[in-house]
């Protein structure tokens, strides 16, 4: 069965650029990293504004390998989300890098509120995309069509929903890049046969009181995110709702 043998796998070089910024949600980034880095031939660049350690919203410090200046072109561009995304919506250095990197990339991708950064860089207008359930409505401020699915593929844009969707997302990306056989092999390596102990993983399955409490607790953050989304959309000249 040579199609199941790593020795016969396609190991064509594959350059993947994964962006880091302060107060990202680290699992948005680390789950796809675990999948992408296992693709034969993959070279994963961890790209940030400087080479200083980047600290996640929950305090985990990760080291970049490249800056926006030193990162070369990539076949796949990936952007995570998290509370820090809000501040990055007005970071011209990051948005410029996203535009440059996307220009040469075969696939432009994100997980969680990373899709709002792609939108703020002008890279999702006219596409369908997903986002964390609490913020997916904000995509429409950029002329992006929100689709509340776990993974959304629209032409060469692939977006994942909130945080833990990054595993499903990355396996779908691998299947697009290198075929289902490799994705099946990685699924087995990663022992990815999830058994969520609680069935409250999105607002369509969780009970209404739990969803309402989550919205209420997140309200100040969501309001600040919306302000930054509106400002970024205005800078792009996008008319909200279109």
């Amino acid at each position: 069965m040579p199609q199941h043998d790593a020795n016969h796998a396609d190991a064509t070089p594959l350059r993947i650029a994964m962006v880091l910024f302060p107060r990202l949600t680290q699992l948005d980034f680390t789950a796809p990293f675990e999948v992408f880095a296992r693709v034969p031939g993959a070279e994963v660049a961890v790209v940030s504004e400087t080479l200083e350690p980047v600290v996640s919203d929950t305090g985990l410090a990760i080291l970049p390998t490249h800056t926006f200046q030193t990162a070369g072109t990539a076949d796949v561009l990936f952007v995570p989300g998290g509370p820090g995304q809000i501040e990055q919506m007005a970071n011209a250095a990051l948005l410029d890098y996203l535009r440059r990197a996307a220009d040469g990339a075969a696939w432009v991708t994100s997980v969680c509120t990373g899709s709002l950064l792609l939108a703020a860089a002008g890279l999702l207008q006219g596409y369908r995309a997903t986002c964390h359930w609490l913020s997916i409505d904000q995509l429409s401020l950029f002329g992006v069509e929100p689709q509340p699915s776990r993974v959304v593929v629209d032409r060469n844009r692939i977006t994942g929903a909130g945080i833990t969707s990054g595993i499903d997302f990355a396996l779908e990306v691998v299947a697009k890049l290198r075929g289902g056989d490799l994705a099946r092999r990685l699924t087995l390596q990663l022992e990815y046969d999830p058994e969520p102990p609680f069935r409250t993983g999105n607002p369509r399955v969780a009970d209404a009181a739990l969803v309402e409490a989550a919205r209420r607790n997140a309200a100040p953050m969501l309001e600040e995110r919306r302000r930054q989304s509106l400002a970024a959309a205005a800078r792009l000249g996008v008319r909200p709702g279109l």
Copy 2:
């Protein structure tokens, strides 16, 4: 519904010690970190032999916050796995730390081949435990009863299976520590409603040829792991199979 409101959550201090070592599988560590760090009152220490960046088997560099000497006591001890676990089986500094930390901990936990490190430290003898499917048989070399479940709870030992099981594992730990309401809330925050694109996540569901190829490709690593497990069991004075 105050039980669903973060403002009313139990925020009693909770000290969690998470161990890092070179060539760990970073997702074994980062997935539980994402869950644990969101528990109100949690203080997560990232504990390693030195404060130098620790590089995962796939090249991601993470910064520790404490060394084996500076880490204080903890309520929860957590150990990840990965190829680097093999070398750590003979690292007296790490095994000594695990014994000291476990001594004062209410819960002693691991994901993936981290359970072999707990076993090598003499902390799992007579318990049921799980491990990555490729290596779970090696638990019996230490007098540990292998149980091929995604998460195994035996008294105050909680072990998770391979890599991605860390999310299911950590939510179960949170439910034990702080109750199901918080675990349900975190499940929603993390949008944990997985949709694996491929159903090959363990040897009971993947086709036999895929499983056989994975075993064949991993054979040299598994053999080296077994050599180190046998040596560690001999140092502990455990008779294999008991």
